[in-house]
Every structure is written in structure tokens, then in C-alpha cells.
């Protein structure tokens, strides 16, 4: 059984995994790029080694260096986190070859689910419904895709075969737009995955994105930990997730049926460890297999809060060859959990990423609040990696309590120095459709605007006016003092300026 785990990742998820290892008494090894020397995952780990320069392909994607570090420091297991090398069959194989436990599924399952077309074929054969599209048709040319498109019907979706996270994905409304969007999608997929292969898929109207967390052990036991509602997305990036889903709600029969299908889909590729089955659910509660994520999910905490099960610790236990600690009947759902992804993005400026130094951080705390974050005062947010600063999770006995907790937690959260999307979440939580739980995957992009929601809310323009005026007045006075002081002793000018700036 392994004793020392190398975490081949960065950011909040590296910290999350370190915590689980530490709580299980395992030694931890962090790796870092030149941009991350002061990151929390480096400071919290028992050991830490430099991988290379900031760009991911020179650091966090360098399999050779990761395995070399693991060998040198005698790490006998690797946790890949999400993103980077988490869903790379070749990396899992290389770990196996080096005698290092890969904390995740078998390479064959990664491969089977990694090619979206092959995955759809596999689960189809197991009798699981999939969304109509060009699955299983192989690597079709633009011409072939353009010919098939009308049979699927518009609107349809172009998706990257090696895709994930919305990269290389495009919605096509009509036949005329198809050639241009195919080109754009292939270009983006090529840049993101080194693979420009794409396929087409029917768009399900008013679709919900609902996924099931599953756990599978080496003896072939597979259980699910309930669903996560992930329909609130922008550009195919999830923004807010909850468990359970308000769409499934008290419909235990539907939950059980979807959960069984999810377990069957995982079993169809002889799955091991934690994974997620994503479904599209239409208005009439028909559900279709979308894809399987063969890794830990960003939004796993909502399931942890709703079940009390620590998924990362279960991953490690499974990788150590242990039997699942729960049967399906022993998994108990309790209350409601919501996660808001706090990104370094400006919600008032088209969600433009923001970089800079986080000069101050004040985290919300108290009952029912969890924060998974890599942010600390003094942290520099760089343009090299994704913009996720923090995951704010609240739990309540009911959905209403979880929402009210999230509102007060968002109000308390201060992340100074970098623009972030907290105001977006505040507006979203105040919207009637969110409160009613009636939204689909198009809601955020098509029918929600942060500006619209200002109408219904309590506004205080006069307070804003007073505050800005006080700040302006104060700064005018400060400048006047500076000029006077400078006149007395001009040789000190430079130092005064510096000093005054630091006082602000």
C-alpha cells in the first residue's frame, strides 16, 4: 500500500487533495511551475519540486518530469486532480509502467470514455440512451458532416472528439453557418488538445445538464452518490452547481432510474475509482448519456456536503485496493448543497479574465459554509492557468436555506485586487427563475443579464454618491498636503510620494 502521494496539479484542487492525504496520514509531494513557488499547495505539502516554466506544457503537462520527480522522491502514488493529465491514458499507463499507483480509473476506461464517439458507442451497446448525432461514424470530413447535418436537424452542436470544458464546441443554428463554425471549432480543438477531430450532436431543447457521481471498487462494486444539477453554464463552463437537482427534486423514481443507468454505464467500461456520468435531460424527463468524466470533478464538494462522504479520501482508499465502505442503500442524502465558482473574471465587462495581486482576502465562514480555494493575501493571479479562484459551497436543510446562506456568504466574501464574478452570482441568486429552479443550459446566456436584475433589487445610488464624493474629497486634500510638503523640502519628494502611496 502506497505511503507517499505526488499531486500532479496546482490551484484549489491540489490543496483539496493534499488535505485528504494529510487526513489519511499520507506523505505529500507538491509540484510547481515557476509561477507557483509561493502557492498554497507548495506551502502545505511535505515536499515540493520545481517542474519548469509557467506555461502548462513546460510544467504541469510534462509527464517525463513528473515521473522523474516521483521516482527521485520515492512517491508511490500520483493523484492527477482534474484537467492537465487527469484524463490521459498514456499518463496512467506510464505510471503503471513505473510501478506507481495512478489514483484514478484503469487506462482502458480512460481510453474507452476519452474518445467521445467510442464512449457513445460503448454505452449505446449497453442499452443506454444517447443524444442523436454522428457518434460512431468515425472521423468525418467537413463535407460529410455538412451532408449529415440536416438529418440530425438544427440547432445542433459541434463537439471536439477529444474535448472537455467547452473547448472546440459550437452551437449551429442553420446550415449556412455550419462551414464557418466547423472551421472555428476545429481550430480551437487543435489548439486545446492537439486534435481537430469533431462530431455533431442534436441540441436538446430546454435541456438540463444533470450528472451522477459514481464510485467503483476493484471488486466491481459500483454505487452512485446522487446527482448534481449543472445547467447553469456560460460558454459551456459551469458556474453554479447544486445537489440534489431541483428538476429531479422529490422524484425518487427518476433519481433511482438515472442512478442505475449511471452505474451501468460505468460498469460497461469496467470502471474503477470515482467518475461522473453526464446526462442531458429534456423537458419531459427523457435523459440521454452525454459523456463520462473519468476523474474527480470540480463540483464534487456539493455531493460531499449532501452525503457526508469525502470523495477524495474514497478515491485514495479505492486506489489502495479497499472495498467500498458503503452499499448503495447506506448512502444517505441529507439537505441541499450549492456551489458558486468564484472566477477571476469581470462580470461587468463580458467576463474578461482579470490578473493581478490579491492584496486582501476575507472569507465567509460560519455554519454551513465551505470554501475550497487556493487564494491567499498576496497571491498573484497569472494568465497561465484557468481563472478559478475559489469554490464557495453552502449547505442547508432545504434548498431555500442553502440559497439564503449562499447570499449572505457572497455578501461577506472580499477578494481585493482582482476582479471577480461574485456580483454575477449575487444577481443570479436573486433572479426569480433561479429561485424557482426553472432554468436550462441556455438560461445564463440567453435569458439572464447582470444588468437586468438590478431593477428588482434595493438600490442605494445616494450612498454610492456620498462614498465616491468622500473618496474624491479625501484624495484632493491629500494631494494638496503633498504639494505643500514638497514645497518645504523638494529633495524628499520622491520618498514622500512612495511613502504616501503605501499609506493609501
Amino acid at each position: 500500500m502506497f505511503k507517499k502521494v505526488l499531486i500532479a496539479n496546482r490551484g484549489e484542487i491540489a490543496v483539496r487533495i493534499l488535505r485528504a492525504c494529510r487526513e489519511l496520514g499520507l506523505q505529500t509531494v507538491a509540484v510547481f511551475s515557476e509561477a507557483d513557488r509561493q502557492a498554497l499547495h507548495v506551502r502545505y505539502a511535505d515536499e515540493a519540486y520545481l517542474l519548469g516554466p509557467a506555461p502548462a506544457r513546460e510544467s504541469y503537462l510534462r509527464m517525463d518530469r513528473l515521473l522523474d520527480i516521483a521516482r527521485r522522491c520515492e512517491a508511490d502514488a500520483i493523484h492527477p486532480g482534474y484537467g492537465f493529465l487527469a484524463e490521459r491514458e498514456d499518463f496512467a499507463l506510464a505510471c503503471e509502467a513505473a510501478g506507481i499507483t495512478f489514483i484514478g480509473p484503469r487506462p482502458s476506461a480512460i481510453a474507452a470514455m476519452g474518445d467521445k464517439m467510442a464512449a457513445r458507442n460503448t454505452v449505446s451497446r449497453a442499452g443506454i440512451p444517447v443524444v442523436p448525432g454522428t457518434e460512431g461514424e468515425g472521423d468525418l470530413s467537413d463535407e460529410a458532416l455538412i451532408a449529415i447535418a440536416p438529418k440530425i436537424g438544427f440547432p445542433l452542436l459541434i463537439k471536439a472528439t477529444s474535448g472537455g470544458g467547452g473547448k472546440g464546441m459550437r452551437i449551429v443554428e442553420s446550415q449556412e453557418d455550419l462551414p464557418g463554425l466547423l472551421h472555428a471549432a476545429r481550430r480551437e480543438a487543435e489548439a486545446a488538445f492537439g486534435d481537430g477531430k469533431v462530431y455533431l450532436e442534436k441540441v436538446i431543447h430546454a435541456a438540463r445538464h444533470i450528472e451522477f457521481q459514481i464510485l467503483a471498487d476493484a471488486e466491481g462494486n459500483v454505487i452512485h452518490l446522487g446527482e448534481r444539477e449543472c445547467s447553469l453554464q456560460r460558454r459551456h463552463q459551469k458556474l453554479l452547481e447544486e445537489s440534489p437537482s431541483p428538476f429531479i427534486g422529490a422524484n425518487e423514481e427518476l433519481r433511482q432510474r438515472m442512478g442505475e443507468v449511471a452505474c451501468r454505464a460505468a460498469a460497461s467500461v469496467n470502471y474503477l475509482n470515482a467518475g461522473t456520468i453526464e446526462f442531458l435531460v429534456d423537458h419531459d424527463r427523457n435523459f440521454f448519456f452525454l459523456e463520462m468524466n473519468t476523474r474527480l470533478q470540480v463540483e464534487h464538494p456539493v455531493t460531499e456536503m449532501a452525503t457526508g462522504i469525502d470523495i477524495v479520501k474514497e478515491q485514495i482508499r479505492i486506489a489502495r485496493g479497499r472495498r467500498l465502505r458503503y452499499t448503495q442503500a447506506e448512502v444517505r442524502f441529507n439537505g441541499w448543497a450549492i456551489e458558486c465558482r468564484i472566477n477571476a473574471e469581470d462580470p461587468y465587462n463580458n467576463f474578461m479574465p482579470s490578473v493581478g495581486v490579491l492584496s486582501n482576502v476575507l472569507m465567509p465562514t460560519g455554519p454551513g459554509v465551505r470554501v475550497d480555494t487556493c487564494a491567499y493575501p498576496g497571491m498573484e493571479v497569472t494568465p497561465y492557468y484557468d481563472s478559478l479562484l475559489s469554490k464557495l459551497i453552502t449547505w442547508g436543510e432545504s434548498r431555500a436555506e442553502a440559497i439564503l446562506r449562499m447570499r449572505r456568504a457572497l455578501e461577506e466574501y472580499r477578494l481585493i485586487g482582482v476582479k471577480n464574478n461574485i456580483p454575477f452570482h449575487q444577481a443570479l441568486l436573486d433572479s426569480h427563475r433561479f429561485m424557482a429552479g426553472s432554468f436550462d443550459t441556455r438560461f445564463v446566456e440567453d435569458r439572464f443579464s447582470i444588468d437586468d436584475t438590478q431593477d428588482g433589487r434595493e438600490v442605494h445610488p445616494e450612498v454610492a454618491a456620498i462614498l465616491a464624493t468622500l473618496v474624491a474629497h479625501h484624495q484632493t486634500q491629500l494631494s494638496a498636503q503633498l504639494v505643500q510638503r514638497g514645497q518645504r523640502d523638494t529633495s524628499n519628494w520622491k520618498w514622500i510620494g512612495r511613502w504616501e502611496r503605501m499609506q493609501r
Partner: protein, 165 residues
């Protein structure tokens, strides 16, 4: 001295009387105002009501972010107001607008050409940063004058990418 402060379409006349009092449109308010150390965050009690807000200087004034809402505020004293009124008469309706990189990144595409006329919202540059392709759009209609970057080029924060006339 009076300040003329504008929030959206509303205009307020504000006078700072002393450390603890301001006059807002003729009514005196008790104000207890505290900058928090080392942060652009201010705690203020106005007649007992407690507010906390970010106040960030922008080119034309201040952004005040408070209780999940953003207010764009312009603060001018009477002299500045007269000055601006006079200047606006002299200035042409539009002038050059430099499009700057909002963050460091890689220019993924330049979908416009020099000399091309563009509408408000036309994508001028696609900039890749934080694993995302970000579309930089024209803030108003105009003509693309100088393009200073090409696709594939790495740019620094605030670097001028192109000019819209």
C-alpha cells in the same frame, strides 16, 4: 465647496461639512466613514445604516461596488463642471480609441483589417488567456486605424493592440 456627483442618470449636490456630516441635496446626514487599512474598501455609517463598498477610481470617475451592485459615479466640483462643459463644446464628437490588452496573453486572431469600418460590438481581437479565448470588442462604431499586433504574438497587459478612429 459643493460637489456635483452623478450616478447613472441621477445627479446629487453634496457638501462635505466636517468629518462627520455631509449635506446631500440640502439635507444634513451624519456620516461615519472609515477606509479599511490597505484596501480600496470603505465602511460607512450614514444615519446608522451600515454599508461597505469597494470604491475604485476609473478614467472618468469611480466604480462603487456595494451589496452586489455596481454604480458608476462621476464626482466633480463646480469648477471642474464648468471646465468640462466648456471643453465639450470644443471637442469633436469622437477621437481615437486605443484598444489595450486587459491582461497578458496570446493574440489568437485579428479578425479585422486596417481601414475597415466597424460597428459597436464588432470583435477586433481574440486574445487567449487563462485557457479561454476572449473576444475584445469595439466599444463604439468607427474605423480601424493602426493594427499593432498579429496573430500568434504574445502581449503584455495594457499593451495597445490597435486604434479605432
Amino acid at each position: 465647496m459643493n460637489y456635483i456627483t452623478t450616478v447613472g442618470e441621477r445627479t446629487y449636490t453634496i457638501e462635505i461639512n466636517d468629518e462627520n456630516h455631509v449635506t446631500l441635496d440640502g439635507g444634513v446626514l451624519e456620516v461615519d466613514w472609515h477606509p479599511l487599512p490597505g484596501q480600496p474598501v470603505y465602511s460607512v455609517l450614514i444615519d446608522g445604516q451600515s454599508y461597505e463598498a469597494y470604491v475604485l477610481p476609473t478614467e472618468g470617475g469611480y466604480q462603487v461596488q456595494m451589496r452586489g451592485l455596481l454604480y458608476e459615479v462621476r464626482v466633480e466640483d463646480e469648477r471642474e463642471l464648468r471646465l468640462r462643459a466648456a471643453m465639450e463644446l470644443d471637442l469633436p464628437a469622437s477621437s481615437e480609441y486605443p484598444l489595450r490588452a486587459p491582461m497578458p496573453g496570446l493574440v489568437a486572431a485579428v479578425p479585422v483589417n486596417e481601414g475597415q469600418t466597424v460597428d459597436k460590438g464588432t470583435v477586433l481581437i481574440v486574445l487567449e488567456s487563462m485557457k479561454m479565448q476572449n473576444e475584445l470588442k469595439a466599444p463604439r462604431a468607427g474605423r480601424v486605424a493602426h493594427i499593432r499586433v498579429r496573430a500568434g504574438q504574445t502581449v503584455e497587459q495594457n499593451q495597445t493592440l490597435l486604434i479605432v478612429e
